[in-house]
Symmetry: C2
Subunit: 161 residues, 2 copies
DNA sequence: TTGATACTTGTAATAATATAACATATCAAC
DNA sequence: GTTGATATGTTATATTATTACAAGTATCAA
């Protein structure tokens, strides 16, 4: 898994592929990929950033919808439950999944300067965490792994001249 | 570092030692360990659980104080800034540090059944995370590492008979 | 010991995030 | 087409957190 989000890439196809993958997954699993859910996923896919539920509501309202909070939270619940988006706990916000359809439990890399969020492979991290937990007799079921720092671009920008 | 919180231990001394360590640290660093801050730390130390800011306010009010939200958030900011408490992002809540005075950046083990929170050594976890981030050109400054699952006690209880 | 300065607290108001509850509409399977 | 499950519309409210400003307290130098 690469850390898409910090690299240049074809962002249009990034959105298109994300929606297509989600649609395919829904068909395959008998889930309803309704216009609302699709729209919220598209809004998230537009950015490699986490958006708050109310940011999403703002976008929906600009589009003319009368959007109350449950509209956003329900769609987000659906997207997160099915692996199309992730909740970033540190930000109380949501980001589109960069690898829809692939089974994965990533670590998140959050740039404090540009707010970009990327996913990184977390298997070794989870292994280390599982081991530490085991020593305490603790069984890990889920884990939040979120790093904050500087992405490559912002790191350059911040570097002393 | 052990994962105190799941083990039996002398909890009275646990509170006393925590407060004493914090007091010593404040003296040494020229910080004001005011009654409010001490009280909030004591409230957190009473439990090996994360408490919300409003849980703390409830306790303060029961004690007769007129406690508005900033009272709790200011004290918590102070405690977290100085390493006397940690914010548990997953819970939007705060837990007393189990190792006040020791430099550490732990992983948190959150029991979904009894809500206990323990700290576990996270050096290997952070190393793995740093490596994964580096591959993306990302520089980690801080990391949230929180595992949810079952503590040893609750695991027994949940086990099929 | 006084005044300057920084830090801490009191208090009211409000912002930001999230959920509950219930009515209505749509879907999907029979 | 009826029915049971799923999804949406809508109002209200709960929970978490911050802003702003006034007043009090500690610290330190002159």
């Amino acid at each position: 898994m690469d850390a898409k989000g910090f690299d240049d890439h074809d962002h249009a196809s990034c959105i298109k592929d994300g929606v297509a993958s989600a649609a395919a997954y829904c068909t395959e699993h008998g889930l309803q990929f309704t216009p609302q859910r699709r729209r919220v996923l598209e809004i998230l896919l537009r950015e490699h950033r986490a958006l708050g539920a109310y940011d999403i509501l703002d976008v929906l309202r600009e589009e003319g919808q009368t959007a109350q909070p449950p509209i956003a939270y329900r769609a987000l619940d659906f997207l997160v439950s099915n692996g199309f988006a992730h909740k970033i706990e540190r930000l109380n916000a949501f980001a589109a999944c960069a690898h829809i359809g692939e089974r994965h439990a990533p670590a998140f890399l959050i740039c404090r300067a540009c707010r970009a969020v990327a996913e990184a492979a977390a298997a070794p991290v989870r292994a280390a965490l599982g081991k530490a937990a085991q020593e305490a007799g603790f069984t890990v079921e889920r884990a939040v792994i979120e790093a904050e720092g500087l992405c490559p671009t912002c790191r350059q920008t911040e570097a002393p001249a």
